[in-house]
Symmetry: C2
């Protein structure tokens, strides 16, 4: 008298969901609370739970239940069918790579990460190179096996892990459109900026006051502090599951905005995760639809909304309230200018909306070449520097500000970088439709009201979970296929506005 | 070419250790960091990991490996043999009770706990009674099954879960000795006290300053803050594993001592856990030797050491330093008197060394009667009140200060209470030998030096892990079997000292 196969599968994945949530908490604690000397202990705990998770997901019983559920698919609802598909996707990814390869990759990545830190400290790429090479070789093997199992090109198989359904073709089309317009647009935007340089914003901003401001803004956005926390960590991140969401930011006492914007970026992730369909919260179909969409939600809040004039109108009095600042440099228009400065810089995480995609394009090309073998690891620094010179006209004075700046490759995350650029493009496309559907949006935001924004996102994005691929979700929400058109229009309008129109605003 | 069976078992138990550590962190977080609304999510995570832990521990493969390792036991070292024995003990306990019974008990306990809280708030035992009855019935079933499997009387089987090797005979012998002396000793001690009442200690003690004091004292004791944390929680507790030890306390701004002593109690647990044999840290034989010994270590630090005159001599200048207090009431002798007041009270957790065992004796008798069926749950309040009157001469005005004060029975912890009294008795017996072996102990403590104390405990207690039963450990450390003699001598000397001798001290 056991339950039908599909219902048994739901029970199994409910258990897997509890494991995922536990793993997430162990990671959060490691970054926020854990004593310095406890990393080894935590490493063993994470490895044990991940191994068990993998074993449970790839057990023969799961495959048998999937086959039986599939054979009787006509009794399932469309959500259940989508859930079964997502269960299979997770299982397919997990089963495609032998545990021995994953384990070798995990260990190699752990060594490479340590050497990457060392190489950064000493400014010596050669300390890192042999370890990166080991990681590249193992990721290449993994991509080949994944690709075979999923019937995808190797690189596409890696992308599919992070953003299901996104292919190299999507990414290439996006980057082609962006590279046609962005280089000239950056020049024009910088020229506009230079015609009216903003006043400097200096001062000391005590962390406790910054935190009070951040909490006030996060509450206005709707972050539920009874089912989530805000803490500080070395790098901002979001961990947790719907029902217990942990957001962090990094607070710099010399910078009034970086802690706030970091927190708002993560709040964008958190609001998406919290808005996922409650009735599917412990099932694969109830999960976020991958990193490209995740990043679109964080960028939409941080970049599009919280660097807009209406938001500045709401936030500017809060700066006065929390820090007691005043004077012409704290006027709305000057604050707005600071939040939206375009600058050709070396560091991706500090980049603005316009130059950011160029940073990603460089990494995308280089990681494909590394995996195909076209580019040898030892030649990476030169290829990086040449690429920066070509794309942004600046050359890193050292590899620390060059190919050693990101952790992704050290830990084996290849195929992840495009999500960042896809996120920006998707955010702009969604925001186009959102503004059309919510005409009072700007007035609401200027009053610190985020419900119109969030209602639209809940209906059109959050509540769909992983029911469909991101391309289909986007078509449903905007009526159009994925394209860079909205993004280009958005940045053109924002960064080329004439001095007169902005002064009038 | 697989490893020998014993080595395979070590691998399996290493994994189980990682699960235990993960569960411990999830519990710590729930009590210290978790947002209010996330309890359901955490409950699911704990249940999933506990179920998996149980499944891994009771898998047929483990039994087969144990049998094969046992058949080849001559190749094992004495530590390995002890480890194999402890592995079997864990497996035997886990396998004796069907998962269905454990699951029913977990759910009943969870309901009972909620109703216990409600009953306390409303002062109505009858709200709690039917749920306690359900728990008692299920614990009775569990005790019968455990007893059968372990060849022990049912109640002894429950005690064996918390303190392996301790039997009703040990407990009865201890309580017989204690009840012969304590009632009269309490009268005499109170008379001595009344002859020289201490001056009142009033004031406000800001939590941040209390925390600074606590951290300073914990550092002096040797708590490693690079592998552990101190936080605040509703009730003091210790969670974690060797390598990541989390201690909490509750800070009361009106009470200068309760937060410090709570933290020191937990530091006693933590120092024991941190001192367990490192080379066995992820194996059963590397674990603490049960709750009686655990409690002996916390009481030894909190009660015996940190309420002693030498400790007061060290701590008194710290009170002046952290709180700026002065005057005759903050003199060492007056502080000492406050730390060691004997008072017939209703609440166990507030009780002093002399009356505490009487609270435990009452609970021990009542829980045995509840399990045997001799006492019906509905008659518990009256039996409790009569017992308090008989033992301490006071009658609770309500069940909140009576049989509703402890959470233990609500959550199904029967057989646990005796550990507290055993802990006090064991602590005194160990301290007798410790003082004989470390003649300079008092001078060291008065200077805030704890290394002599801890070296002795490491050698004679901590480093032995679960290699032997607590009775054998005690014989090795003190040359004598478990007995209440040291405890009675200790409290007689401490509480009956004449006014003259104390003034001279």
């Amino acid at each position: 008298m056991s339950a039908p196969p599909y219902q048994q599968l739901e029970q199994e994945f409910k258990r897997l969901h509890a494991f995922r949530g536990s793993l997430s908490l162990l990671r959060w604690d490691a970054a926020v609370m854990m004593p310095r000397g406890s990393a080894d202990v935590r490493g063993e705990q994470l490895a044990a739970l991940e191994t068990e998770y993998h074993a449970l997901l790839t057990a023969p019983r799961i495959t048998r239940l999937m086959d039986r559920a599939q054979a009787n698919i006509q009794v399932l609802s469309d959500w259940q069918i989508a859930n079964l598909r997502e269960m299979r996707r997770q299982r397919d990814h997990a089963i495609a790579t032998p545990v021995s390869l994953i384990s070798r990759l995990t260990k190699a990545a752990s060594r490479a990460e340590a050497r990457w830190l060392e190489a950064r400290q000493q400014g010596k790429f050669e300390l890192f190179a042999p370890h990166l090479e080991e990681v590249v070789n193992l990721v290449r093997d993994k991509a080949a096996l994944l690709g075979q199992a999923l019937n995808l090109a190797p690189y596409d198989a890696l992308v599919d892990e992070f953003s299901p359904g996104i292919t190299t073709a999507d990414i290439d089309a996006m980057f082609k459109a962006l590279s046609r317009r962005l280089p000239s647009l950056i020049r024009e935007a910088i020229a506009v900026q230079e015609s009216r340089p903003p006043l400097a914003l200096t001062g000391k901003f005590p962390p406790s006051k910054q935190k009070a401001l951040i909490v006030e803004v996060m509450k206005a956005v709707g972050f539920p502090f009874d089912r989530g926390r805000l803490d500080e960590s070395e790098h901002p991140f979001t961990e947790g599951v719907s029902g217990d969401m942990r957001v962090t930011t990094r607070i710099d006492p010399n910078d009034v905005f970086s802690g706030l914007l970091g927190a708002l970026h993560e709040t964008g992730h958190a609001m998406y995760d919290l808005g996922l369909p409650q009735e599917w919260r412990d099932q694969p179909v109830g999960r976020d639809r991958g990193m490209a969409l995740e990043e679109s939600q964080s960028l939409l809040i941080e970049m599009t909304v919280c660097r807009s004039r209406p938001f500045v109108q709401y936030a500017q009095p809060l700066l006065a309230k929390h820090f007691g600042v005043g004077g012409p440099e704290w006027g709305a228009e000057n604050v707005y200018a600071h939040l939206n400065r375009v600058k050709r810089g070396l560091i991706r995480v500090d980049a603005d909306e316009l130059t950011y995609p160029l940073h990603i394009m460089l990494r995308y090309e280089l990681e494909k070449q590394l995996l195909s073998g076209e580019l040898a690891v030892r030649n990476l620094p030169e290829a990086w520097n040449a690429g920066m010179e070509q794309r942004l006209g600046i050359r890193p004075p050292s590899d620390v500000e060059g190919c050693l700046q990101d952790i992704h490759w050290a830990v084996g995350s290849f195929g992840y970088f495009p999500s960042y650029a896809l996120g920006a493009v998707i955010a702009a496309q969604l925001y186009d439709s959102l503004r059309a559907d919510v005409p009072a949006l700007d007035e609401q935001l200027a009053r610190g009201e985020f419900s119109g924004l969030l209602d639209w996102l809940r209906t059109n994005v959050y509540s769909l979970g992983s029911k469909m691929l991101v391309q289909d979700l986007l078509k449903g929400a905007t009526g159009k296929p994925l394209s860079a058109t909205s993004f280009i229009r958005y940045v053109e309008a924002k960064y080329l506005e004439s001095a007169e129109s902005s002064a009038a605003a």
